[in-house]
Subunit: 67 residues, 6 copies
């Protein structure tokens, strides 16, 4: 039954997402005693220009390293 929503900057790989949802589901089930099948996780990838910390947009506060 639980719903977990993860908001983070875009850019995580598919492999990272895959591991994240596996681990969160397994641990949530173990700790809270709910079945794994009923756990939903929704990942919300946010562009850095749409996230601010301390009043500053993150693409300016934490610029990506040069490629």
């Amino acid at each position: 039954m639980p719903i977990v929503r993860v908001e983070m900057w875009e850019g995580r790989t598919l492999e990272q997402k895959r591991e994240l949802v596996e681990v969160f589901t397994r641990e949530m089930s173990r700790i809270c005693g709910c079945t794994e099948a009923g756990i939903h996780i929704v990942i919300d990838e946010v562009k850095k220009e749409n996230w601010a910390m301390g009043g500053q947009l993150c693409h300016e506060k934490f610029p990506d390293p040069p490629a």
Copy 2:
């Protein structure tokens, strides 16, 4: 005044969205006694690779049928 937020996989047609918001608004107004004009509905289309059920990303658990 109510706000309804619908999270679902991407891929619904405009016609489906149009009918969904019409029906939800009409029924919400009828059941809860609020004016239709004040009802907001926000649809959040989520990529299947950003939604997990039972610990598995949905684009892998429920792959799209071949085109």
Copy 3:
């Protein structure tokens, strides 16, 4: 799979909530072609003093009628 979240002022009766989730689930399933069993609806009842419209808290903008 869809998740519907309804934010509204507190005060709806159990009967209203019951009808709302029945109708929303049935219509969502019919329009979008998903199974009813997979539809989650979460109702978030908000106190009027925690909701503002047009810059004014709703318990002041829309006071409850005297009992």
Copy 4:
């Protein structure tokens, strides 16, 4: 510590977002007495076809002016 989430139609400029997060952060800190550094703001830009008011999708209810 506070988290502010802004949902609005897409189309605001970077300059508007920059000013919005500056002002919201400064005012939130001033009014609520929390440090600016701890305030997160997430902007969620929603397509008009995914937002409905009064039962009608906004790209149809409020069409964009011709370019």
Copy 5:
């Protein structure tokens, strides 16, 4: 049209909420060019035991001062 959602620890006074929604509405309208009447703000007051930072529940990480 915009919806602003503020999540913060419970405990702000009515006066703080009143000023917060006034200022956010006025500034949002000024910066983004939307009418004040259409702006919704929802405040979500979260108990400190339901908020974690750095892996620790906030009522333990930041205990309230003795009364």
Copy 6:
């Protein structure tokens, strides 16, 4: 920077919440490479009468066992 939001029925103990936020924070940091200090987790405890699955309110679909 990430924000994790957990919606579940009310009734988890403080000990369960404490372990959940510890584990989620540690695993999120390990998998996604972000610092633990920047991770926020907000738990939203929902009454069973405000959660529906398959069109039925959960306090009726899954009644609590007798005490």
